[in-house]
């Protein structure tokens, strides 16, 4: 048995269904944004911070990686933007991995015994750059929202 409904009811129903089904997509977008900002904070904490900050950053990094991988892998809705951003060969993924690798190597191989302001500034600049691809991916997904 079908209930009767007006055109306005129908438009409201459409908006509600769209909003609900897009919720996981919005969360995926915010996951990328969190990864971007997390990456920007991770490297300075690891290479410039005290031991406790390194420990917190390490645990947070692992937790964020596991949570985002699990969440994106179990999405029950497929979206073109999420699929594009999350593809291993997408410009976002490639730029993210490459910039993270460069920042890691810079921190591991070129860290002086007593890092000065210049080295710290260079590391922070690299950390910001390495977070940008994920931020771009998240922004792209969130901007595609109708």
């Amino acid at each position: 048995m079908e209930e009767r409904f007006t055109p306005r009811d129908a438009l409201r129903r459409i908006e509600e269904a769209e909003r609900r089904v897009r919720r996981p997509v919005r969360t995926a977008g915010w996951t990328f944004v969190a990864t971007g900002f997390g990456t920007m904070l991770y490297w300075p904490a690891m290479f410039l911070g005290p031991t406790w900050a390194q420990a917190v950053a390490g645990v947070a990094w692992v937790a964020l990686t596991i949570a985002s991988t699990f969440y994106l892998g179990s999405l029950r809705v497929q979206d073109a933007e999420v699929a594009w951003v999350n593809r291993p060969t997408s410009p976002v993924s490639v730029a993210y991995v490459a910039s993270v690798l460069v920042t890691f190597l810079f921190g591991m191989l070129f860290r002086p015994e007593d890092p000065g302001a210049g080295w710290a500034a260079a590391l922070i600049a690299l950390a910001v750059l390495s977070g940008l691809p994920a931020l771009y991916g998240g922004r792209r997904i969130l901007r595609a929202e109708r």
Binding site: E2, E3, F5, P7, R8, A10, L11, R13, I14, E15, E16, A17, E18, R20, V21, R22, P24, V25, R76, V77, Q78, D79, A80, A83, R146
Partner: protein, 103 residues
């Protein structure tokens, strides 16, 4: 236009039912959606959702794809090209109707 001149005669009867409209709207907002997500989104039983999906599938508006993830079956649903076109037309008729009401 069909029989009458009023825009309501242009409303697609296959879509113009609350559950089917919600299914179409949800699928129009994504590439594909899983059966359980639709069920939770629309808040209907599995059997009622299946019944309406069958109607939409028979009309050529919805495509059903069954896959296995490990041993667990998953049913993915998507709009066909005809389905997207029909939904767009339906929404434009609705807008014409509501604009007429607000005048």
């Amino acid at each position: 236009m069909s029989d009458g001149s009023h825009p309501r005669h242009d409303l697609d009867d296959v879509i113009h039912a609350p559950v089917r409209l919600s299914i179409m709207a949800a699928l129009a907002a994504a590439e594909k959606a899983e059966f359980r997500l639709l069920r939770d989104t629309i808040e209907v039983s599995d059997s009622l959702l299946s019944k309406h999906i069958l109607t939409l599938e028979e009309a050529g508006y919805v495509e059903v794809e069954k896959v296995f993830v490990g041993k667990r079956p998953r049913t993915w649903l998507s709009l066909t090209d005809d389905g997207r076109r029909a939904f767009r037309d339906y929404v434009s008729v609705l807008k014409r109707l509501t604009e007429g009401l607000s005048e």
